[in-house]
């Protein structure tokens, strides 16, 4: 970069006046939002991975020459999972190293709990929780090194090698045990298998990142355009002053990059400052340790540079269009037609999705792949439908504002699509996830507690004992060996049907513990753990994606509206001079966004719902009505926020059209 360019850029940036400063500030604000969102997404992605890795030591890694027995099991209280790790040092073997978070390998009778579990033990009656653990000694605390989240419920218990909880019968048996119950001889805690409750976190975040990256890019592009629209104002003056187009382009790039970098830095600082608050946002197993969400300086630098670069590229490409048109106005003489192939592709993808969701239940992976496919197809389809919408409305429009809006839609369908795409796709994603997957229901396990036993004879014997224990604890229940809800899976055991709320259920699980021969009784949450882990994550992802999309889409709608006003301030100004009411121009601006928003956001949300119903029908589940209501509220709020953002540039419209000297010279 030659120094005259830098010098002139600085001079012009300083002398660009109040309106120039305003649009610089807006662009910087957009860059700040963009980098904050990107860094937050990145933090969630890296943090989810780091966090999941912290759970790996609990699943035993078998070693034939091991020195201890490790048994993992999972018990639920109030439908929240507690990871229980039982450890027994083998006699006459070398000493086993300490597990993460503990000072030493626990001796028989020692037990350690996570801080969150300690709180629960203090607040819940012992008959509902504490009696599941050794009663004698007080417990010590597991430090953060052994935990994935401050909210995690974990217990580590030292046992005798002969204790039933570390016996062979405590190993995984039934179909529900995968990832929840396991037992092995180990020599340390080098396990690599992430817990059921964290294994899908990172993939889900990645999907969210994929869905949000595009809106963030759109936002950065809008910010770049805003700067260029203002720059174009002095394009002619610069030419007269002897600057070459290349120099002007370079100046624009430098200025946009500087503004973008400044904004992105503010976003990065905000990310740093917000880390403690971000760490309080629960995801999956709960809130975060602050350190897990710090992405490191190289990543921060990369995001700042990336956002600044995006804005500079967008500003330069906008200016290039403007500079090449004779009147200095970015007008295409012949709007590029959107071709029918977009519709054909979209329909093909729909048909493909319809065919592949028919029949058998889908794996989450396939589901996500189909969703991404749909997303891509929709990105192709969007401009086409906006173009058609513009033409249909243009044909039948009767009011001037509607006609103007419709003509603008078919003039630049891609631009109009970009403005609304964030909200539209968020509507689809949210429709699909929050409504669809929340409602997965397989067997009905409500109010049931299963106690697995070694064999059928033991089960028959245990029925009477279970009745006695439950009666003694004051729990109203019927007990039998029949398992209509398939809660025992294929193993032998007893099923108690408990009447009463979660407290009664937790009491039953606690008091029936002696019958389990080393295994803890369990309720429906245990059997559904695998499904809920996935569907909960996707539902949370849907909500988060929706919220962030709204934020980003609102910001880019506001910026685009402002940039549009600046782009056409001459025409708007002249129209206003000729007596065209500002009201009409303003209404046209709003309709230009509202029309595609109504049709597309409504349409996609409905499509998302429909897709969710179809997929879930195959999976044998139901629709969640509360999710549907929540979604409708969200989409409405998002649309209103967007309108407010567009309305925010009304004073700008008034200001740039007010001075006849600006319009006519």
């Amino acid at each position: 970069m030659r120094s005259p360019v830098l010098h002139l850029t600085w001079h012009l940036a300083r002398s660009s006046g109040r309106r120039g400063l305003q649009s610089q500030l807006l662009a910087a604000a957009a860059a700040a939002v963009g980098s904050l969102v990107l860094l937050t997404l990145l933090a969630a992605y890296l943090g989810a991975g780091a966090r999941a890795d912290r759970t790996a030591w609990r699943t035993p890694a078998p070693d034939r020459h091991g020195t201890a027995i490790q048994a993992l099991t999972t018990t639920y209280v109030r439908d929240e999972p507690i990871t229980v790790v039982s450890l027994a040092q083998l006699p006459h073997h070398a000493r086993t190293p300490a597990p993460p978070g503990l000072n030493s390998f626990p001796k028989q009778g020692d037990w350690y709990v996570s801080p969150a579990l300690a709180r629960l033990l203090r607040t819940l009656p012992p008959t509902q929780l504490a009696y599941r653990f050794p009663k004698s000694t007080p417990y010590a605390t597991i430090s953060a090194a052994g935990l994935a989240s401050p909210d995690e419920l974990v217990a580590v218990i030292g046992r005798a090698p002969t204790d039933p909880t570390v016996s062979k019968s405590a190993d995984r048996q039934g179909i529900y045990d995968d990832g929840l119950t396991a037992r092995s001889v180990v020599s340390g805690f080098a396990g690599t298998r992430r817990s059921v409750f964290t294994a899908d976190d990172q993939a889900a975040v990645l999907l969210g990142v994929g869905l949000l990256v595009v809106p963030v890019i759109v936002l950065a592009a809008a910010a770049g355009r805003l700067g260029a629209a203002r720059r174009e104002q002095r394009l002619a003056a610069l030419r007269l002053a002897g600057a070459t187009p290349r120099q002007i382009l370079a100046m624009t790039g430098v200025e946009a990059a500087a503004v973008g970098a400044a904004g992105a830095l503010v976003g990065a600082v905000a990310y740093g400052a917000l880390l403690p608050a971000l760490a309080e946002v629960p995801y999956g197993i709960g809130t975060w340790y602050v350190g897990q969400l710090w992405v490191g300086l190289p990543w921060v630098a990369a995001v700042v540079v990336g956002v600044a670069g995006l804005i500079a590229v967008s500003a330069m490409s906008t200016l290039r269009q403007v500079a090449s048109s004779p009147l200095g106005v970015a007008q295409q003489s012949d709007p590029r037609r959107t071709r029918l192939v977009r519709l054909v592709l979209f329909v093909a993808v729909l048909v493909y999705i319809r065919v592949s969701t028919d029949g058998s239940a889908l794996k989450p992976g396939t589901l996500v792949a189909l969703m991404v496919l749909f997303y891509g197809a929709f990105w192709m389809f969007g401009p086409w439908i906006v173009d058609r919408l513009g033409r249909v409305v243009g044909r039948f429009a009767r009011r001037p504002a509607t006609l103007l809006a419709a003509r603008r839609l078919s003039d630049d369908p891609r631009g109009a699509w970009r403005t609304v795409s964030g909200l539209v796709l968020a509507g689809f994603v949210a429709g699909f996830f929050t409504v669809g997957l929340l409602g997965i229901v397989g067997f009905d396990h409500r109010g049931q507690v299963a106690v697995p036993t070694a064999n059928a004879a033991d089960a028959r014997h245990a029925v009477g004992e279970a009745r006695r224990l439950l009666r003694a604890a004051g729990v109203d229940a019927t007990v039998g060996t029949d398992d209509e809800g398939f809660l025992l899976g294929s193993s032998d055991g007893v099923v108690a049907r408990v009447s009463g709320g979660p407290a009664a259920l937790d009491t039953a699980v606690t008091v029936l513990q002696p019958l389990g021969a080393g295994r803890l009784p369990y309720a429906g949450a245990y059997a559904e753990a695998q499904d809920t882990a996935v569907s909960d994550r996707l539902a949370q992802l849907g909500t988060a994606t929706l919220a962030v999309s709204f934020l980003v889409a609102t910001a880019s709608a506001g910026l685009t509206a402002a940039a549009n006003v600046l782009d056409r301030r001459r025409t708007y100004g002249l129209l206003r001079l000729s007596g065209t009411p500002l009201r009409v121009l303003d209404r046209a601006r709003v309709r230009e966004t509202v029309l595609p928003l109504l049709v597309l956001a409504g349409g996609t949300t409905a499509t998302g719902l429909y897709a969710a119903v179809q997929v879930n029908k195959a999976a044998g589940s139901t629709i969640s009505t509360s999710g549907a209501v929540q979604l409708a509220v969200c989409v409405t709020l998002g649309a209103l926020a967007m309108l407010a953002a567009i309305g925010a540039s009304r004073p700008l419209l008034r200001a740039v059209t007010a001075d006849p000297a600006h319009a006519t010279d």
Binding site: D334, P335, L403, R407, R570, T571, L574, L575, S578, P581
Partner: protein
């Protein structure tokens, strides 16, 4: 000659610069007036003041057929327009005036005929009728077959002729043109201004045109020379 628009003792100041230093001017119905003068002499300011776009700091702008908002009318059938509210002024410009600017006044995404029909639709004419009325202007202005073209697909001269059609479509009393040929080459400019003056005359509207081109000004009935915000010379070609 019966006047339709008059400026009396017009004064306009921008900070320390005096753009208009007491100008008296009268525009007759069916009359065409060219305003000439060096750059920065106050031509545009005079046009904007007469058109109710800029409010004068002193003097009055009178329009025949308007009722004054307050006070006694200066003369029977005349009204002051320089003291009207923003909304009334806007409506007045829309209904009684037409405007042709140097460039950039057509909405780029609207076909030519819709650009012309827009002011009619703003007046409440149903769209089909507005477009039908707009189309009638295309043949007389030599724009036959260009009705569905968008401004970007028109030459500079064609775009100015569409702008003329738009200005005249509402049947205004006065057409204001600020450097209508400023972005055109000599030959095209001459053709455009010939059409502008003749069509305006046929419609029975008055024309007030700012230009720095003597050849363009010669198409008008009268020429007003402005210098430093004052009328420095006044010539009349035709006697009416």
């Amino acid at each position: 000659m019966s006047a339709v628009l008059a400026g009396v003792g017009l004064i306009k100041k921008y900070g320390s610069t005096t753009a208009l230093a007491g100008v008296d001017v009268e525009v007759g119905a069916c009359d065409s007036l060219a305003i000439m003068g060096p750059s920065g002499s106050g031509k545009s300011t005079l046009l904007h003041t007469l058109a109710g776009i800029v409010r004068p700091d002193g003097g009055q702008v009178l329009l025949r057929g308007e009722r004054s908002e307050m006070g006694v009318p200066p003369a029977e059938g005349w009204g002051r327009i320089d003291d009207l509210g923003e909304n009334r002024l806007s409506a007045l410009r829309r209904k009684r005036f037409g405007f042709v600017f140097q460039s950039g006044q057509l909405l780029p995404e609207l076909p030519a005929e819709e650009n012309v029909a827009l002011p009619l639709m703003l007046e409440g004419l149903p769209r089909a009728q507005a477009v039908e009325r707009a189309r009638r202007w295309f043949a007389p202005l030599g724009l036959d077959g260009l009705e569905r073209r968008r401004p970007g697909q028109l030459s500079g001269g064609q775009a100015q002729r569409v702008a003329i059609a738009r200005a005249l479509a509402v049947a205004p009393d006065v057409v204001f043109a600020d450097e209508p040929t400023g972005a055109l080459d000599q030959a095209t400019g001459t053709e455009v201004v010939r059409l502008l003056t003749s069509v305006t005359r046929e419609q029975g509207a008055a024309l007030v045109m700012v230009t720095h081109d003597a050849e363009v000004a010669a198409h008008c009935d009268r020429i007003l020379q402005v210098r430093d915000g004052r009328i420095s010379n006044y010539s009349q070609f035709t006697v009416s």
